[in-house]
Every structure is written in C-alpha cells, then in structure tokens.
C-alpha cells in the first residue's frame, strides 16, 4: 500500500554485497562524516541567503527561479560530485566509511534542521510562558485541558476525526463498489469527477463552498447560496448555516469530506478490483446476495487497505487548518486544534500555548507513527 509498484526483490536489501571492507571507526572518521554531511547544505544556504540579489524585492522573479533551478539541479549535483571526488582522495579505508555520508548526509542535515530540532524546540517552548522568557511547567497544558475555549477545539477536532474519515471512506468505498458494476467508460469518467477535488487547495475548496452556504439576511437581496435557495424554495426561512451552532461544525466537515472522498475512492477502488473473481464466484454459487458477498468476502479482503486509507484521512483531518481559518476563522464555536494553534501563535502572540497545542497535535499521532514504523519493519522482514 505505502510502497510504489515495485518488483519484489529476491533478497533482503540489508545484505547487499556492496558491503566492502570492515567499517572503520574512530573519532577522525566521524568528524569527516559529519563534515561531509554539512558541506552541501551549508553551501546551498550560504548561496541562497548571503547573496542579496535573491532577497531584492525588485529582483526579477524569473531570474530568481532560474538561479534556483540552476543551483537546485546543476549546483547541487556538482556539489555532490565534488564531495564524492574529495572522498576519493581519502585513504581507502576512511573513504569507504565516509562516502555514504556524502550521499545521505545533506538529507539528514535538512531533516534535522527542519523537523527534528524544531520538534524538540517546540516541546521546550510549550513549557514556557507566552513570550518564551521563563519556564512555567505544565501551565500551558493545564490551560488547554481546562479552559473552555481550548476544550471546545479539542472536542471539535475529536468530532472531525470521527466523522470525516467515516464519511469519506464510507462514501468512497460505496462509490468504488457501485461504479465497479458499471461500464468501464462511465466508471472512469465518474471516478475522475469525484477525484477532481483532490487537485483543489483547501482554500479554494472553502471558496467553492462559500457559494453553497452563502446567507443573506432579510432585505439584503436574493439568496445566492444554493443551499438557502433550495431551503427557502421548500418553504423555510433562510438560514445562516455557518453561524448555526453546533451544526456549523458539520457543515465545515462536509467540505473536507468532499475533498477526501476521491482519495479513498481511488485507492479502495483498486483494492476492490483486486479481490479474486473466484472468491466472488464461490460466494455467488453458495447463494450469497450481493450485500452478503460484499460484507463477507469483499470487505474482509480489502480490510487492510481500508485501515491505511482511514489512518491517512485521520491524519489529514486532525491537522485541518485552512478550511476553518477561511470559512469562520474559528468563530461561532467552530475552532479546531490546528487552527487554534496558528491563532495563538500569530494572533494572540502566545508562544507557550501555541507550542503546547502543536505538541498535542503531535502526541495524538504518535500511535500512528508507531504503527507505521511497525508496518515498515514487518515489510522489511518479508523482503
């Protein structure tokens, strides 16, 4: 599932015959390894930032991009090549120990700088006050788990995580199963249409749905939102959907369901098609109805795919920020954790609570992280 279509390797990667000589150890080799890893990133950063022309507001954008591309492709390649040649000049044994770090090092340095260090630093900031000046222990976390404003965002995020994956995976699976029974042309055309929102940004989707939920009070003109147009045409009062607590949360969730269903549908569809025809045939001969054969044959065979799709959608939903930010700004009781985090950090200038909310976001996905690592290990063991 999480690997690209590949040919199964006949032997484990871990025992590649490229294992040359014994790995050299010693401080000197490690110093060389670290130095080797740092060269490429440092040169890139210095090049990008030390030269003023890329910061010049008047600088031509096309030239900036061109420079970036020349550096990003040619320059980086030349740097890696240069490092490789430098390693050639080392004594053979040291060279063997250092060379891998000329390859893997720059990526590790970037990862350390952009993900590992910030994660640690954010955790530290979460134990400090609003301006990160002194330590306040668990105060920020106590606030998050006691003050109603944050509790509402935690509650809302929890509901998002329950509802959106259920709807997106449910509709996606239903559509995949139904479309599978139609002609191929119709199937692929309809699937493309359901899938299309995947190409739209969350901000763009919010604008799309602005024209669904649009509301105008009495005397401010005709309703231009299609929902209110339908709603009033069947004799109801026009409703300000996005201000209607607590249902407004559900209306926002619909937008994400709209975006994510295509993703689950496409992946589940290929899983449904992978169910062996003989199994279905056997079920049919045993007199199973379509409904029974779906739940007793198809669903169990695609279950692991459902789980992967489910967790993926859960992670996306858990971090949803843009939709709430654009549609309601978290007002009217629609705040969620990820949006509240940005709000605390930028609008309220409260680093401590902002960081604590980020940590909450992270800690909640740790089980999925562990699951991923386990699954990866299991896959490796099978190789």
């Amino acid at each position: 599932m999480t690997t690209p279509p590949v040919t199964t390797p006949d032997e484990p990667v871990t025992s590649t015959p490229l294992r040359e000589l014994e790995q050299p150890g010693g401080l000197g080799v490690w110093a060389l390894r670290i130095a080797t890893a740092l060269v490429v990133p440092v040169v890139i950063v210095v090049f990008f930032f030390a030269f003023g022309f890329l910061k010049d507001e008047e600088a031509n954008k096309a030239i900036q991009v061109l420079v970036a591309l020349v550096v990003g492709i040619g320059g980086v390649w030349a740097l890696y090549w240069g490092m490789d040649r430098l390693v050639d000049r080392l004594p053979l044994k040291a060279g063997i120990g250092v060379r891998p770090f000329a390859f893997v090092g720059p990526a590790l340095v970037l990862l350390a700088f952009y993900l590992v260090y910030p994660a640690i630093n954010t955790t530290i900031i979460s134990f400090q006050d609003a301006r990160s000046e002194s330590f306040v222990g668990f105060d920020n976390y106590v606030r998050i788990f006691t003050e109603s404003e944050y509790l509402v965002s935690l509650r809302n995020s929890a509901i998002w995580v329950l509802v959106v994956p259920l709807a997106a995976v449910g509709i996606g699976l239903a559509f995949a199963t139904l479309a599978d029974k139609l002609g191929r042309r119709i199937e692929s055309a309809t699937k493309s249409l359901i899938f299309l929102p995947m190409a739209i940004s969350f901000v763009g989707a919010s604008v799309v749905w602005t024209f669904v939920y649009s509301f105008r009070p009495e005397g401010f003109g005709d309703q231009i939102g299609i929902l209110n147009a339908i709603w009033t045409s069947i004799g109801n009062e026009a409703t300000n959907w996005l201000a209607q607590r607590p249902w407004n949360n559900l209306y926002l969730m619909v937008i994400l369901v709209w975006l994510q269903t295509g993703f689950s549908m496409v992946i589940l569809s290929s899983a449904v098609k992978g169910v062996p025809e003989e199994l279905l045939e056997a079920a049919r001969i045993d007199g199973a109805t379509e409904w029974q054969s779906f739940w007793r044959v198809v669903f169990p065979s695609i279950f692991s795919t459902v789980v992967v799709v489910w967790t993926t959608v859960v992670i996306t939903v858990w971090k949803v920020f843009d939709i709430v930010w654009v549609m309601t700004g978290g007002r009217e009781g629609t705040q969620v954790v990820a949006q509240q985090m940005v709000q605390e950090f930028f609008t309220n200038r409260n680093n401590g609570v902002g960081a604590a909310l980020a940590v909450v976001l992270f800690v909640a996905v740790v089980p999925i992280l562990i699951l991923n690592v386990r699954r990866f290990r299991a896959e490796e063991a099978l190789r």
Partner: protein, 298 residues
Amino acid sequence: MTTTSEAAATTETGAPSGPRASRRGLIYLAVTVIVALWTIPSFGLLINSLRDPRSIRASGWWSAFTDVFDSAAWTLENYRVVLDQGFGNAFANTVAVSIPSVVIPITIAAFAAYAFAWMEFPGRNILFVTVVGLLVVPLQMALIPILRIYVDFDVNGTFPAVWLAHAGFGLPLAVYLLRNYMGSLPKSIVESAKIDGADHFAIFARLILPLSVPVLASFAIFQFLWVWNDYLVALVFLGNDPSVEVLTVSLATLAGRGEGALNLLPAAAFVTMVLPMVVFFSLQRFFVRGLTAGSVKG
C-alpha cells in the same frame, strides 16, 4: 437493501431481466446522485466566474440558465480584473515558489535514498526508521522554531526560505518513496556494474537514477500539488507582501473581504485551480500512484 437481495436471488435462478434491470437502475441513480453532489459546487462556481459582476451579487449562479443565450450575461471581465488586481502576480509567485520546492528535495532525496538502499553505513537502519517516523510529524511542530530562526537571520518572506522549508518538509516522503523503489531494483544490475569498475556515483547517476524515473515523477507531481495548494507554510514564511504572496494567500485574503469581493471570488478561485487541474488531468495516473504511496505524509 431488499432490492439487491431480490435481484441477486433472481440472477441465481435464471435472471429475468426486469428486477436485474431495476437493480442496475438503482446503481445508476446512486452514482448519479453522488456525482451530482460532488460536481455541482464547483460547476456553480465556474458559472459564476463567467457572469457579469452585478448578476453575481444579485442572484444565484443557477439564474444564469434563464438567459443562457444572452451574450451580455457572460463575460471574462472578472478574470481580467482579478489578474490585474494581484492574482497575475501571485500566480507568478506561486510558480516561483513551486518549481524549486519540487526540484531541490528530489535531488537531495535521491542521493540519500541511494545510500539507504545500496550503501553500508553505521546507523543506516535506525536513521531510515527515523525518516519513516518523521512522515507523520505535523507541520505545526516546526513553525515556531523555524520562523524564529528565519526572523533572526532576516530571511523570512524570501523565496529561498520557503523553498528550503518545503524541501525539508517534503524530504521524509521523498526519501521513503525513492528508497523503497531503488531498494527493489534487481541487485544483479548493481553488482555487474560494480564488477565493471563503476563506483557508487556512477552507478547512482547512470543506472539507478534513470531506472527510478517513474517514482521520481510520482513524487514530483505529489509535491507540486502539495506546494501549489499549500496555505500554512506560505502564510507563515512568506506572508502577505504582494511581492512574494502566493495564490492561496491572495485567495484567502479576498475571501476574508466577504460581500465586498463576492464578484471576484469565483474567478480568483479558478485562477488558483487551473494549473493543478491541468496537471491533475494530464498526469492522473502518476498522481494516483504518488498519492497511494505518499498517503502518510505529515
């Protein structure tokens, strides 16, 4: 559900076409309803973007169908205004952000993936497991510290700052995908190249990289759509300055103006969507593959 079971039962006993056809009819109905629900919102927006500004404010998009053939009712004026009012510029900015943000991580990840797949070094397994773990770390964890560093060094709001941020955030997925793909290439070809005297750099550049083009393409499309549609990273590290602001930021600002900008919103939204849609439709196959593979990105 009775209909389905009935239909299945008749199928079994020799299938008279009646109930079977009605079951098929139900499937068509369900599919049509879902497709309608999924397309009408964007379709309405498209119609609205082509109407004259006053009608957009005065009535819903469906009213346009009462005078479809009235050429005065249709106009590209909104697009012209939107492009003049900064969206043309934001489009260029978004291109300027996206291309290097896709290219830089690919190069760096490819070298790392090769090392993970075909080279021996201390800590290889634990480092790669760490990369797998980093896949799900929420972006939010990185915002505050990186922003502080960027501000301290006075580089926030520059393109290189956001290129490198996107490169860093995209790396776990890139390394993960490329390593799994490269590691599954047949060992024999690498071995025979070794015997012919090729060193690691040559094997990587001449052998492994050309063979990895499909997965490179998948990642490139995935990362492109991700960067193009990103709002959070652009908002934090580029912000609202017109000289650098990207489409999502412009669109969110416009949406924030509420009724005042109502006539411009539909066209603006389509300006932001056009390129990803083209990429999506022309390269759907690659995109699906990248999506399947990258479904765990954090």
